[in-house]
């Protein structure tokens, strides 16, 4: 086998000049990124070494130290915990005789943890060499351990291990079989405006307005970028859209490209969905649009890259550090050029409006939130999966449909979202009341919300990009405080401090830090009895 440095040359020739994509390939081939490969990539691409090193040390799926032949990352989302992932993690470590995060001395395996893998409706889940294995049980963990001990390559593992369910439980307007496009260009923009389409990634910016701003911004190039980073714990609807509606998605991107006059687009998919690679590459290869090219760009284990400006940095091959805003991506986006960044569902909805017009869309939903929303429902319910509802659906309705008879709390919007107690289940999912990218996690009456608070606080500390003081330090202090509380060493002062940290975090540079203490504060306020017993 060629040395890592030689391999890097080859990869750059074959894959082009994007350092992050080359690094992901090196990691795959060598189970780590050796120093000589870092140097070679830097010199071949004429970039400072620190840029390449910075990538390796930033992205969770890249490593400077050699990992095992099998590198396992257990999904550490709260929904995984609720399904027993922590016990399974210990069982796997025990089976293989490894300590968490430490590669076995014979180099066979490394077992660590990663944030939510987007398999919440079929957890617990893990990634083995980047590929998802869901529906874990004790037996499956034992079987996987044996396969690894026997050094059976992944391709020879039973197919069912890699099977990912779509679990589409409720279909609505978006999931119809939309074909073609009647509306294009100006007419489409008008139709989208009339329909009242707003972004589905969380912030809810009017989509037509974004596209028009990009079209009108000065620049020699323009880009259309689809955000399929989907890192918010409890969200997995973009995964299902990529699986079933990627054609509509590409159509939506192409329609946008024609409006803003972009020749190049990127689909930024989180690394956790790597198993979709062949599917997506095939569909892209079958596209016959020569005016607008779409390139796949893989993430590598960094939640922050879902933030649009961090995502653009990542496509540029840098660490995913959010940019100063303003200027916004519509005027200064990829390579400083006007860029549209939209969520998968937003592009799908736009192309469906192009195919069927905006009238029906407008008639659905509430006064301020038109159309439908895909919800990813997980946690304590008998039918977890994807539910498409018109905006305005009540939490009660969702609970009834998903079979959650005994709900204590519902977390809407993921770790960065809002925690509701039973008195609030009449609230409605829409931009005016409960805005969300689609994560709905149900906790039943057997649960202790302190666990969720602990899980979310660790999540933010692990995913903070480290750029700004309040978030880099504050999320870690918050997580340490929650750890103390859950180990029974907390004090009343710790509880008070959590409130303080919430205020400080609001001074953060981006949305991650700004919302990092939100759920924990909600839980403290609404379920104080879940914390009292453990606090001195």
């Amino acid at each position: 086998m060629a040395s890592a440095a030689e391999h890097a040359d080859l990869l750059i020739e074959r894959m082009g000049s994007n350092p992050l994509q080359v690094l992901i390939a090196i990691q795959k081939a060598f189970n780590h990124v050796p120093g000589d490969a870092i140097c070679r990539i830097a010199s071949a691409l004429d970039l400072p070494l620190s840029r390449i090193l910075g990538d390796v040390e930033f992205y969770g799926f890249l490593s400077r130290e050699p990992l095992g032949v099998y590198s396992v990352l257990m999904s550490d989302s709260i929904t995984d915990w609720m399904l027993g992932s922590r016990e399974l993690f210990l069982r796997l470590c025990g089976n293989l005789g490894v300590s968490p995060g430490v590669t076995r001395s014979d180099g066979l395996a490394t077992v660590g943890k990663t944030s939510c893998t987007g398999m919440c409706d079929q957890g617990p889940a893990l990634l083995v060499n980047g590929i998802a294995v869901a529906n874990l049980t004790g037996d499956r963990i034992d079987a996987i351990s044996r396969l690894m001990e026997k050094k059976i390559p992944l391709v020879a593992w039973p197919d069912e291990y890699f099977h990912v369910e779509s679990n589409i439980r409720r279909r609505g307007w978006l999931f119809q079989d939309w074909e073609g496009a009647i509306f294009e260009g100006e007419a489409l923009l008008q139709e989208m405006t009339d329909a009242g389409l707003r972004g589905r990634g969380g912030a809810g910016f009017p989509t037509a307005k974004k596209w028009a701003s990009c079209r009108d911004a000065p620049g020699s190039e323009r880009y259309v970028v689809c955000n399929a980073d989907e890192g918010e714990p409890g969200t997995f609807k973009d995964r299902v859209l990529l699986q079933h509606c990627a054609g509509r998605l590409f159509e939506g991107m192409a329609l946008c490209a024609r409006i803003v006059r972009a020749k190049k687009g990127f689909l930024y998919v989180r690394g956790e969905y790597r198993y979709l690679e062949a599917h997506l590459e095939n569909l892209l290869a079958a596209r016959r649009d020569t005016d607008f090219e779409i390139e796949l760009h893989w993430g590598a284990g960094a939640y922050i890259c879902g933030e649009e400006s961090a995502l653009l940095e990542s496509i540029e091959g840098k660490r995913g550090i959010p940019r100063v805003r303003p200027p916004f991506p519509v005027t200064h986006g990829l390579h400083g050029m006007p860029t549209v960044v939209d969520n998968v569902e937003t592009f799908c909805a736009a192309s469906a409006i192009a195919a069927g017009g905006g009238r029906e869309f407008r008639s659905l939903g509430t006064a301020g939130s038109h159309g439908t929303k895909l919800l990813s429902v997980s946690g304590d319910c008998s039918r977890p999966g994807i539910y498409e509802y018109p905006f305005g659906v009540s939490v009660d309705q969702i609970l009834e449909d998903c079979g959650a008879g005994n709900a204590l709390a519902v977390q809407v919007g993921g770790a960065a979202g809002t925690c509701l107690d039973a008195s609030e289940f009449g609230r409605k999912v829409c931009f005016e009341d409960l805005p969300t990218s689609g994560s709905v996690m149900v906790f039943d009456r057997t649960r202790n919300m302190q666990e969720a608070a602990l899980n979310f606080s660790r999540f933010f500390a692990r995913e903070s990009c480290g750029f700004c003081t309040p978030c880099r330090v504050g999320t870690e202090i918050l997580a340490q405080t929650m750890e103390r509380i859950s180990e029974g060493r907390g004090t009343g002062e710790d509880i008070f401090e959590i409130g303080n940290l919430g205020n400080i975090l609001k001074a953060s540079h981006c949305g991650l830090g700004q919302s990092a203490a939100r759920a924990v504060r909600d839980m403290l306020k609404k379920f104080p009895e879940h914390f009292e017993g453990t606090v001195k």
Binding site: E57, Y59, V324, C468, P470, E476, I504, A507, H509
Partner: protein, 220 residues
């Protein structure tokens, strides 16, 4: 001329100015660490956080806009600054009594100005690598606050591009652009702007330690 209100004082501004630019021009102090005039601001330390029409914003990156009401010297913001400074102290290793920068350190001065008497949080005592390889210059990462001023100065002023920031979250670290990762293998010189610009004692010129007597130092 357009103007914004800074704690009730009207300050004029020109197109493209930030809130920090206005404040500096109007001689209204806003504490700051990662901002330096004539250097592109990026807003990482957040010490310059102000409240504009009810929302936090970093003054160094926030464009001034007609009609803004900017709060600076309020109890809420003083508490926030104090907390941010404490955070910067606990995440690193700041033993001022044995630091050559003491007395001329901008972090220390900012903490004095805000009346910081204690850490409040538990110090982390992180283990960070020291780089003493260069004959004239020392890197003590224990004191680095990731302001990136050295990165920008070396790249944009010295034209050498010697520093970079790597890692993520609490593992964020200052790195050197050389194969060995050591400063000795770069063409840095003690006269470089990158050395001078470090606000804390993380990049120091060797052999000058404790040269200036206590009482005569920059911020004494």
């Amino acid at each position: 001329m357009k103007a914004i209100s800074l704690d009730g004082i009207m300050a004029p501004f020109a197109e493209g100015h930030t809130v920090m630019d206005c404040a500096l021009a109007a001689n209204i102090p806003i504490p700051h660490l990662c901002y330096l005039p004539r250097c592109v601001p990026h807003g990482s330390c957040r010490l310059c956080t102000v409240k504009i029409d009810g929302r936090f914003a970093s003054a160094c990156t926030q464009p001034a806009m007609e009609g803004q009401h900017v709060e600076i010297d309020t109890e809420e913001l003083r508490q926030l600054r104090l907390s941010l400074l404490r955070m910067l102290f606990v995440e690193g290793n700041h033993y001022c009594p044995s630091c050559e920068k003491s007395g001329s350190c901008r972090l220390q001065k900012a903490a004095y100005d805000e009346g910081m008497l204690d850490l409040h949080y538990r110090p982390w005592y992180p283990k960070r690598e020291m780089d003493a390889s260069h004959p004239d210059i020392l890197i003590d990462r224990d004191r680095c606050i990731f302001c990136e001023l050295c990165v920008k100065a070396s790249r944009d002023v010295d034209g050498k591009n010697i520093f970079g920031i790597s890692g993520r979250g609490t593992d964020t670290r200052l790195v050197v652009n050389s194969k060995s990762g050591l400063l000795a293998d770069t063409d840095i010189s003690a006269q470089d702007r990158a050395v001078e610009v470090c606000p804390v004692g993380a990049i120091l010129v060797k052999g000058l330690g404790f040269e200036i007597p206590i009482g005569k130092r920059l911020y004494d």
